[in-house]
């Protein structure tokens, strides 16, 4: 069947009936939130165990179960590898791995896919594991990719049925209260962890820092935690702050970031009360910085800034251009420090952030957002998952959620990456539907989605707008579209839209 993004989707796959994507707000949910088992803990019994093995034994993890991890330690994470290693040694097989995201540091999971310990993955795969899976024939079922909000939604609905949530925590008390703010492995907000603990049957905290009861704030709460395991180290703090966080120095990209501010100014949203989503890519960081400078110069005070939290976001709070920071994921030390001491820097979880099947989520309240991507087509559909050669190398992040929620969604994308143009007649994979994307800013011009007649009217005479096809044609003069990748018939991954419908599938890359 063909879904509303124009992509061919099978109606059934690996025993699962697929619902086609119908539009950003066209598929209302039915049913109820999942309720995990009631728990019971005797007040005289301890929760702290000696080893991961013991904890796994106690919760009764068995062949075929689903385990989850959060990715707040990013490329510095040691816990995923540590736990899967123990599971493998215990002889448990056929595990469904449900991390919120995997990073290059998790490359050794490939071994455990080969030896049958991990046979299914639901979660983002950044880098080597994604590349490995792309060749096909590696997993027993296609991987499932979800946005941050989609992940929270699936955990809540029970579509992602978690048997054990493993929670890496840089500080925890002996009853399981933990947060991400303190300790040698501090990473800041713990938004991805919370939802998993609420819906998982069992929760095991893995920490390198046990502190006396009570640890506050209790982002992950004692009421959900079954066991705690103390290890020497949950990760490498240098890897926790991933390398995406340098502001761009490329003049062309700086120009794009400045153009983003011009668009917001012309659209009339750069005024008191504005709320923005700040991306963590180099161009988005620059755009965030320039918005801050603009607001400061004009005495504008916004309501909140959200997104991957960085020094640039903290600057807005501290220099008074934003009243609050809503933080689901903290990227650098300045931001971790701010989260600790500034009550206006507020930690949020993924349900609050972006779950469409809830009473409302924070992305809905965004006036403007800066996003990136690998490809965009004439209908403004954006690919963030695959490269033009078909390899699945990136997660969705909050891309779909933010695009759907924000008043003005701006995609900042250079027209070429090496020999490959970014604007395509057809993208390799549709991640975010074009009807939720409003503006494309490239170094060679600004295009507005024709659906946004209001915005085109607002920008008239203030910002030079071109057709996306014009930029495409001009780039084609010096950077040809490569031929399509050689893909097979096997579906290696399902790209879910944030509401659980299927927006696209990823097919295997032929060697």
């Amino acid at each position: 069947m063909i879904n509303a993004a124009g992509r061919e989707i099978p109606s059934e796959l690996a025993g699962r009936k697929l619902k086609p994507y119908r539009g950003p707000f066209s598929t209302p949910p039915s049913g109820r939130r999942k309720a995990p088992r009631l728990k019971f803990h005797h007040p005289r019994k301890g929760k702290v165990l000696k080893s991961i093995r013991e904890a796994i034994k106690k919760v009764g993890l068995k062949d075929g179960d689903t385990i989850s991890f959060h990715h707040h330690l990013r490329n510095g994470d040691a816990v995923v590898n540590m736990v899967i290693d123990v599971i493998a040694k215990m002889g448990i097989k056929n595990i469904k791995l449900a991390p919120t995201a995997l990073f290059p540091v998790h490359e050794e999971i490939i071994q455990h896919i080969k030896n049958g310990v991990v046979t299914r993955i639901e979660g983002s795969m950044n880098g080597p594991v994604g590349e490995f899976v792309s060749y096909g024939g590696k997993l027993s079922e296609p991987a499932v990719l979800r946005s941050h909000g989609g992940r929270a939604r699936a955990a809540a609905s029970g579509e992602l049925d978690l048997d054990v949530a493993f929670i890496a925590a840089p500080v925890c008390d002996d009853y399981g209260n933990c947060n991400g703010r303190y300790g040698k492995s501090a990473f800041g907000a713990m938004g991805y962890a919370y939802t998993d603990t609420v819906y998982a049957e069992n929760t095991i905290v893995i920490t390198d820092n046990v502190q006396p009861y009570p640890v506050t704030p209790a982002i992950v709460q004692q009421t959900f935690v079954d066991y705690i395991v103390k290890v020497n180290s949950i990760g490498d703090p240098f890897g926790i702050q991933t390398g995406t966080l340098r502001i761009t120095r490329s003049p062309a990209r700086l120009k794009m970031a400045r153009d983003a501010v011009r668009v917001l100014e012309a659209a009339g949203v750069l005024k008191n009360g504005i709320s923005i989503q700040a991306g963590a890519g180099g161009i988005s960081l620059a755009a965030t910085k320039f918005v801050h400078e603009y607001m400061k110069k004009h005495g504008i005070v916004g309501s909140f800034v959200m997104g991957g939290t960085t020094k640039y976001v903290v600057d807005m709070l501290e220099e008074g251009t934003m009243k609050k920071v809503l933080d689901g994921q903290t990227f650098d030390l300045a931001a971790i420090d701010s989260l600790r001491r500034n009550p206006m820097h507020v930690e949020i979880n993924n349900t609050f952030y972006a779950d469409i099947h809830s009473g409302g989520c924070a992305v809905d309240k965004l006036d403007a957002a800066f996003l990136g991507g690998t490809e965009i087509d004439f209908d403004f559909n954006v690919n963030v998952n695959t490269h033009s050669d078909g390899f699945l190398l990136h997660g969705i992040g909050g891309h779909q959620d933010v695009a759907a929620g924000a008043g003005i969604t701006i995609v900042l994308m250079p027209t070429t990456r090496g020999r490959i143009p970014a604007i395509r007649k057809e993208v390799t994979t549709v991640t975010t539907p074009g009807e939720t994307v409003d503006v494309l800013i490239t170094e060679r011009g600004i295009a507005v989605n024709p659906r946004r007649e209001d915005l085109i009217e607002d920008l008239k005479g203030k910002v030079h707008i071109v057709e996306i096809e014009d930029i495409y044609r001009r780039v084609k003069g010096f950077c040809k579209e490569p031929k399509p990748p050689k893909l097979g018939d096997e579906i290696v991954a399902i790209i879910e839209y944030r509401d659980g419908t299927v927006i696209d599938v990823v097919r295997n890359v032929k060697n």
Partner: protein, 377 residues
């Protein structure tokens, strides 16, 4: 065995190695495997063009566009066989003598990464440089790269120039004219003979390539050049602007780059240029982090009558343009001047006045220029 290497391993460049072989052997190591066959095709086209056999071409590619691969491969083949080929000449519309040249961005001739986006910053001119930014051993590679860049890249609205080497005038011009730039910048122009020399070469290749209209921009950067400004400015109809090069000039006279030191040279250059009805373009501003300094200097040279300023970094362009942008008051006055003229024409009045002041030809010219700079006309 003879082996030729052209290019670099830098981002967006490629390294091409040509050596002897059996038949035609093309090896490509591509950054993205998917595009490997496309690279092989381009190399194949180059080999056909040069009509060579028994050759091995190896390309290591680091995200380089087609034009870079073509330039590197053709240069390597040319060096390998030592034979020139007849090429299709690029067609480009001639430029206007009196168009704006507020900013001119110098772009290194052998650096693909800096060339690709050169057109997106809105500078009035782009100068692809074969001279100071290219080391002697890379001159040949740069000629090929600039030629292919001229034929391929999108410079948007900018006028494109090539700054050639005084020592390799003919080698440079023979190659880059295939790409049909709007004009040639001649560094170290010191006398009329320098201009005549380059003009003869340009004429020779314009004829050979069946093209015309290549403009000239002498760069004056020595005491002698300043002394001989009049004969330089009058030496060729192709000259549309005189550019000042303060770096070499200060070295030549043994002074510093202070305002006072350069005042005489600037004053003379502007005066001579205007007397020949050509534009006066000021030197580059070399401290790329000091935008206040750039704006201060640009405002001063505008007051002196200069028509443009050089830029060595794209970020400088918008600051330069800001200096050239007329104020609201200036625009309003200019509009009133134009209105008064129209009215006078309609009423068939000989003498026109506005606010009690006579409006003569220079006032109208200035008003027109302000309206153009302000984007009104």
């Amino acid at each position: 065995m003879k082996e030729i290497k052209v290019g670099t391993e830098n981002e967006r460049d490629c390294l091409v190695t040509v050596g002897e072989g059996k038949g035609v052997d093309i090896n490509v190591e591509a950054k993205v495997e998917l595009t490997r066959d496309d690279v092989v095709d381009i190399v194949g086209e180059c080999i056909d063009l040069y009509d060579v056999d028994n050759i091995t071409v190896t390309v290591r590619e680091f995200g380089s566009l087609d034009y870079v691969i073509r330039a590197r491969t053709c240069c390597a083949l040319y060096k390998f066989i030592g034979k020139k080929i007849k090429e299709k000449v690029f067609i480009r519309e001639e430029t206007q003598r009196d168009r704006f040249r507020r900013s001119r961005l110098y772009v290194p001739g052998n650096n693909p990464r800096l060339q690709i986006n050169a057109g997106v910053f809105g500078s009035d001119c782009i100068i692809l440089d074969l001279e100071d930014s290219v080391s002697p051993e890379q001159k040949e590679a740069a000629r090929f790269l600039v030629k292919e860049a001229l034929k391929t890249l999108d410079f948007e609205e900018a006028e494109v120039w090539v700054r050639v080497n005084r020592e390799f005038l003919e080698e440079d011009i023979e190659q880059v004219l295939v790409g049909n730039p709007h004009g040639i910048c001649l560094p170290k122009s010191e006398c009329a003979d320098d201009i005549k020399e380059v003009e003869i070469i340009i004429e020779k290749y314009e004829k050979m390539y069946s093209m015309k209209g290549t403009k000239l921009m002498p760069i004056i950067e020595s005491a002698r050049g300043i002394l001989n400004l009049e004969e330089i400015a009058g030496a060729s109809d192709r000259i549309v602007a005189l550019a000042f090069g303060a770096e070499d000039f200060t070295r030549d006279i043994g002074g510093d780059k202070s305002w006072d030191t350069l005042l005489y040279a600037r004053s003379k250059l502007v005066t001579v240029a205007k007397s020949f009805d050509i534009q006066a373009l000021d030197t580059v501003y070399s401290r790329i982090d000091d935008m206040d300094g750039l704006m201060d200097e640009t405002k001063r040279i505008i007051k002196m009558g200069f028509d443009g300023k050089g830029a060595i970094h794209p970020e400088q362009i918008r600051y330069i343009h800001e200096c050239f942008t007329p104020t609201k008051g200036e625009i309003e006055y200019a509009k009133r001047v134009m209105k008064a003229i129209e009215e006078a024409k309609r009423k068939d009045l000989g003498v026109i006045s506005l606010d009690g002041r006579m409006i003569d030809k220079p006032v109208v010219k200035r008003a027109e220029r302000i309206l153009k700079l302000g984007g009104v006309l």
